[in-house]
Symmetry: D2
Subunit: 327 residues, 4 copies
Amino acid sequence: MTELKRVGVLTSGGDAPGMNAAIRATVRACIYYGIEPVVIQEGYKGLIENKMDVADARTVANVINQGGTFLKSARCQEFRTKEGRVKAYENARAAELDGLVVIGGDGSFTGAMLLEEEHGLPCIGVPGTIDNDIYGTDFTIGYDTALNTVVEAIDKIRDTATSHNRLFFIEVMGRDAGFIALNTGIASGAEDILIPEQEKNVELFMESLQKSGRAGKTSSIIVVAEGDRGGGGVFELSRAVEEQFPEYEVKVTVLGHIQRGGKPSCFDRVLASRLGVAAVEALRSGDSGIMVGVRDQQVVKTPLERAISKHNQIDNHLMKVAEIVSV
Amino acid sequence: MTELKRVGVLTSGGDAPGMNAAIRATVRACIYYGIEPVVIQEGYKGLIENKMDVADARTVANVINQGGTFLKSARCQEFRTKEGRVKAYENARAAELDGLVVIGGDGSFTGAMLLEEEHGLPCIGVPGTIDNDIYGTDFTIGYDTALNTVVEAIDKIRDTATSHNRLFFIEVMGRDAGFIALNTGIASGAEDILIPEQEKNVELFMESLQKSGRAGKTSSIIVVAEGDRGGGGVFELSRAVEEQFPEYEVKVTVLGHIQRGGKPSCFDRVLASRLGVAAVEALRSGDSGIMVGVRDQQVVKTPLERAISKHNQIDNHLMKVAEIVSV
Amino acid sequence: MTELKRVGVLTSGGDAPGMNAAIRATVRACIYYGIEPVVIQEGYKGLIENKMDVADARTVANVINQGGTFLKSARCQEFRTKEGRVKAYENARAAELDGLVVIGGDGSFTGAMLLEEEHGLPCIGVPGTIDNDIYGTDFTIGYDTALNTVVEAIDKIRDTATSHNRLFFIEVMGRDAGFIALNTGIASGAEDILIPEQEKNVELFMESLQKSGRAGKTSSIIVVAEGDRGGGGVFELSRAVEEQFPEYEVKVTVLGHIQRGGKPSCFDRVLASRLGVAAVEALRSGDSGIMVGVRDQQVVKTPLERAISKHNQIDNHLMKVAEIVSV
Amino acid sequence: MTELKRVGVLTSGGDAPGMNAAIRATVRACIYYGIEPVVIQEGYKGLIENKMDVADARTVANVINQGGTFLKSARCQEFRTKEGRVKAYENARAAELDGLVVIGGDGSFTGAMLLEEEHGLPCIGVPGTIDNDIYGTDFTIGYDTALNTVVEAIDKIRDTATSHNRLFFIEVMGRDAGFIALNTGIASGAEDILIPEQEKNVELFMESLQKSGRAGKTSSIIVVAEGDRGGGGVFELSRAVEEQFPEYEVKVTVLGHIQRGGKPSCFDRVLASRLGVAAVEALRSGDSGIMVGVRDQQVVKTPLERAISKHNQIDNHLMKVAEIVSV
């Protein structure tokens, strides 16, 4: 067992519900194992600017049910430079950190990997992002909450979708990965789902609209993964549909950052608690440069390098399920 | 007390949470008073197309907690014509309706007024719309639920609004009336609120951004009542801000029809139950051409004509409260 | 206009959702009017123990959407004595408080009244309690949220109430006043409502069970206002029913303190914002010994003495509505 | 591939959120594969009483987001007899059912197994129960939703738990299995969790109360799995604590059937959609007497016999996580 005096914890990148639960578990696992926990504000920026405090169990009281991250999260240009990372490391050393827990997505893990390679500071990644696009874990922290947020929103639209010849477009997050769109599309009974992974592009969607003769039928709900121009692309699509199919009335909802917030679900809180504890236990075992994740309900470890370079694939059976249940 | 054999009920116009509770109360009040309730599908369209059924208490079982309206609601061009209303009236007479309860907004009330004026069918209006813009009642059915829906959405954005120099624009409904924007802006702690009633236009908002020197401060949330081009206007605003103030990162959420759905709040269900009962009691008292509403917690009656022609005004003290609490 | 240097604010008694919004509005209204706000921890106990801090706008950032009260609330035996109030007053004077805003229920207002009578410290009451039993305001802060909490809970029970011959008892708060039970009973479509104000006692309920021959029908939901032995009485009732009617399967839910928590509804936040501002404006106008409330959507003032000694009555029409909609 | 003309689907046992999504997926998978789906009311009772209807895609429109089961679920004494099952089988044969999908827990699976053994009707089990106590699947349908329901309830209590020396007991479901208590205890930051699997009995809890000297500290939340006397045991515990530790004020919440209802979470809807489709695909592959479940994100099959006789075990690491995060 590696002797550890102090361990730092930070959140980085886009925030995600459950990050607070992960910080809390990291802090309390430190205390449980006789290590002094150090909380770092604003991600790598706080490491560079030396915004660190020794924490105790009270520091993380009443945060488990809060969305966002109470340590804040900032993008940090300086940390992308070698000089920035030197500063960060020197502060870490001055603060006597024997290890660092980084809660975030692949950008954050790249930073952790470099800090470890260049300076030998043991770093453990904890996957916190709503996008579920990290290799080495079945679920990322925040993903389950985001799914529920989207589904609750679409449920409300379904309530009102009683008129005829209406198309409701719902834009959800997922520029590169359609996990959110596919799962929430199935769960909300969407009539169609447009995701980056699938060939069905806009032309095909238009064709299917034409064929379906949906005109004269009840309303349809279409879930669209955010395209090139985050938050706006769906309006272009809606205008194109209205031009080609004037018989439809098209209504648009852009969920935007609503998906990043909200009280974390039970699932995300338990996942975050497990992974926060596992991160500290990994440092105690002498691990470094790895991410802790959950596969088949067990905690597993993946080198940060692999976690970053590979990606979870959309499940083919799930794509077929989507097709089947929308008959 | 007027003897009534049968009373019809329909929902018309944009749907609103709580309409089902109002239908249920109307139906059950009929039964309680020995009147046969008749439910009419799809608003005035169903009256013209003779889509009517005698209902009993079970017809409205388990609907009180459902969003939308199980009778559906459709816009009906034909009913705007004299001929259409003749058809509607003939069906009503054939169905032996001695009165009609119309749940909807001012468009729906105009129809009810004409039906009554031209054919003498006693009509009672029940204010059901999320916009709260009907004169003669402190609250319309659905308004309270819509407010909660918007506030819950903004709360989630607030969770994530920890980064610097970010502006979050949230577009809410209210082309003509800023009730939703003003109340949800106060309730969510928005830094600014843009409503149709207030002179503060976009230029002034831009000026205030400039003065505030919000740059370097934490994020701001701006609630915007839907402008000319429903669902899209806020993107133009966001682009204008980004051009003039490149230091801001602007994020947009367009809530859209989410605001029309959702399980009705307790407030809306109780309001709807009271007004549904009151509508039937009004018919029994011989009233016609009036709307039932609630003022100072009491049921009050207003001629449909006045309910349509006048409008609730934004409360000046509430505007000041908004200014004060955002210091 | 009275010149005020400093104004204190505290929460007292059982906590209620929206209290944070009321504190926030009080603090920001002080700042707006050039007064220094002082926040007092743990109610009157904090006044006696001198737990006070000058606040600024940031002190109340991000609290508007939090349940409970961040200033905490404690019962304080010592403040009920003359000596205790002397200490409290001396601390208030030392802190240069020119007025005090007390957010709470009638116990808290009694304290405020005595402090004012005995020592001349201007006190303004703000009604914050889920019970809605304060005279002088149509609504107390927290009441609307509590109603929604109860209704959401009963909705879930309704989902599962598909079996035959089941009685579900739901115990809600309201030892002396049936506002919560009556309103949530109507809103959840309860088959029966047992409240303190109504003569229908347990025997009558038993008789009605017998007559109704509900046996063989689908499930019934009965909302019961908390009786003599908070949190337990409903079990005695359930056992009595099971003994007398063995054909029923009885299931019990005791909501308990769930009703005091939760994110405040939009309604409660706006109400709290208005009343917090109004309390400071009342002090500036030279008022003292009064409570600010809302009647017919307007801010009104009521002497604390009357607010305490009188009670809102259950609305008779609402009782009839309950009867009518459960046919 | 086995040729199937018709497949029946029923829900049985205690209902669970997501059952509707499973019915819907079964029905639509039938249609997709050219099979006629038959929906059976009230579980095995409906099979015996011949309450069956051929369904189409519209039959299951707008049910995916509803709690409970629209087919209803009833306990059926008669089906436990050989004669009852003969009747059931004869009806199934008369209806030309080539297979049966049974959505429920282990009691329901026992029935399916007997029906298959005695009469050769191919039966597939789909695990639907909030208790998560079925072997052969990582998650049962409804479990995730129940966890969220409990956590949301405890969150509200946490909001109000600001006073000193208070103990809040929350009774949750789980007579035999502590999955709900353990997971929600971790997720809500409970100070203690009492589950059947753990030795820590009431005496030990009392000792720990004594040692902890929690007196004088802030409030504690204790999650208790439902004991011998469903819905009442926690009151006995609370009285025992109050007698031995008069310095504590004890508050009790009994969640009861709230846990069985509510809109299903996204997770449960997707799980239910996958398993409903998988059940039909299993019948087409010639499977019989098996349950479909999900392990490591893949659909897996388990003989009904094993699904019934074995049980999922509480995860030891999770028990340790619970201990660590409550330091």
